[in-house]
Amino acid sequence: MSEALITVEKLDKIFGARWALRSVSFTVHQGEIVALVGPNGAGKTTLLRIIGTLSRANAGRIHIGKIPIAEHANSARAAIGFVGHQTFMYDDLTAWENLNFYARLYDLPNIPRRIHEVAGRVGIEPRLNDVTRTLSRGLQQRLTIARMLLHNPAVLLLDEPYTGLDQVAADLLDQIMAEAKHEGRAILFSTHDLERGLAICDRAIIMKAGRIVHDLPRGAWQNLAGFMQIYARVLENPT
């Protein structure tokens, strides 16, 4: 039985009087890729941000491996890689300088070699000395993915990572996630691109209005059309 790397128990998140997450619970194990899908406002981004320690829940517990986030946030952070809606990059610095900066924050050894490794992995090595502002959206997204991989995190969280990626880059991301799975990492990502997302995931979690409606292993749907049926029923259901 592979170890549970992300354990979420009864997570609540409230904004004022509006519930963003209601008693959300699930687990992601080593070597699992879980896709998070749902309509806008379902709480996917909120959930990912809370697991990524950027935000705090109102109730519930999260463990990264055996580390509880609430008490040992910094230890958890060392094991989490995050790709969000924003690039986290400093526009006026070069790609190299950005990666160098973050590598130093994570206190990594042998930084130049590591930067070349991740830059090579995402295919931005030729542009390392270009100022980030001059990179296209797709290249900046690759840079953000490189940043995520820098410190070799056991857990990868990606919030709509395919946004802005061309076909080639999207295929590259698929490859990276497959490799990460093979290396025993836990991957949780949200997406609106159902075709791509379902193609690589081991499980799909459907969220709506802050709740998990379905947590389906791969066998539960035959093909994309089959999944779309399940998904459509969730959307129609008035609750």
Binding site: T53, L54, T87, F88, E97
Partner: protein, 223 residues
């Protein structure tokens, strides 16, 4: 030590980013120069004993321009989410504060280093480099520390940067009183014993608020 390495990384990053565009620095420099010039007309500083009034003019230029720089430093971080990028990492929040405060202090000091000679030239006054420079440095330390903490707060409010002067000035008043008195004391060539009270206030302020800002920064910067 990892802590110091992280502080250094943050300072270096801020310096590198600023040196590339020099936007913030040039805005601060132009603004402080404008303040010096405008004060000349607003207060008819020609016949006046500049060693008495000049200190106030100088510190108004320093603080108004400083607030400009402080406000922009956090606004820039929020823009591309780079502040969150840093928060994602296991960096000590106190190290975040120190790094930011040091780079803010550096930028304000550079602005002061240009403004002071300009002030001397425009008003035909001799600058006693020692002890004036140490006084200015010490005053700037307290201002940068408070300014870093409060600009983190201000940039998260609806009013954004406009909130910063409202928050920073009331709580900097003792610092400014001491800095102005020490500066005019230096300009007038007074004995240290005369103004030693103010020196003590400055030290007390710097120490207390550096510590307070260091400890409370994490409450302000995390969600």
């Amino acid at each position: 030590m990892k802590f110091l390495r992280q502080v250094y990384a943050i300072v270096q990053k801020d310096l590198a980013a600023e040196l590339r565009t020099k936007e913030n620095l040039s805005a601060m420099l132009v603004f402080s120069l404008l303040v010096l010039v405008i004060f000349n007309f607003a207060f008819e500083l020609q016949g006046v004993d500049i060693t008495v009034l000049g200190s106030g003019v100088l510190w108004v230029a320093f603080t108004f321009s400083g607030i400009l720089g402080l406000g922009r430093s956090f606004a820039a971080e929020k823009d591309k989410g780079s502040l969150e990028g840093v928060l994602l990492s296991p960096v000590d929040r106190g190290a975040m504060f120190l790094g930011k405060a040091i780079s803010n202090w550096l930028f304000i000091t550079v602005m002061e280093a240009v403004t002071l000679p300009l002030f001397a030239v425009l008003n035909n006054v001799a600058i006693p480099w020692f002890p004036l420079v140490p006084y200015i440095v010490m005053g700037t330390i307290g201002f940068a520390a408070m300014g870093t903490l409060l600009s983190a707060v201000a940039s998260s409010t609806k009013m954004r940067e406009v909130m910063l002067p409202i928050l920073l000035f009331p709580v900097s008043i003792p610092l400014l009183m001491a800095a102005v008195k020490l500066t005019s004391g230096a300009l007038q060539g007074r004995e240290f014993a005369d103004i030693s009270n103010w020196f003590n206030i400055l030290i007390v302020y710097d120490v207390i608020f550096l510590v307070v800002a260091f400890w409370t920064f994490e409450y302000v910067v995390e969600e």
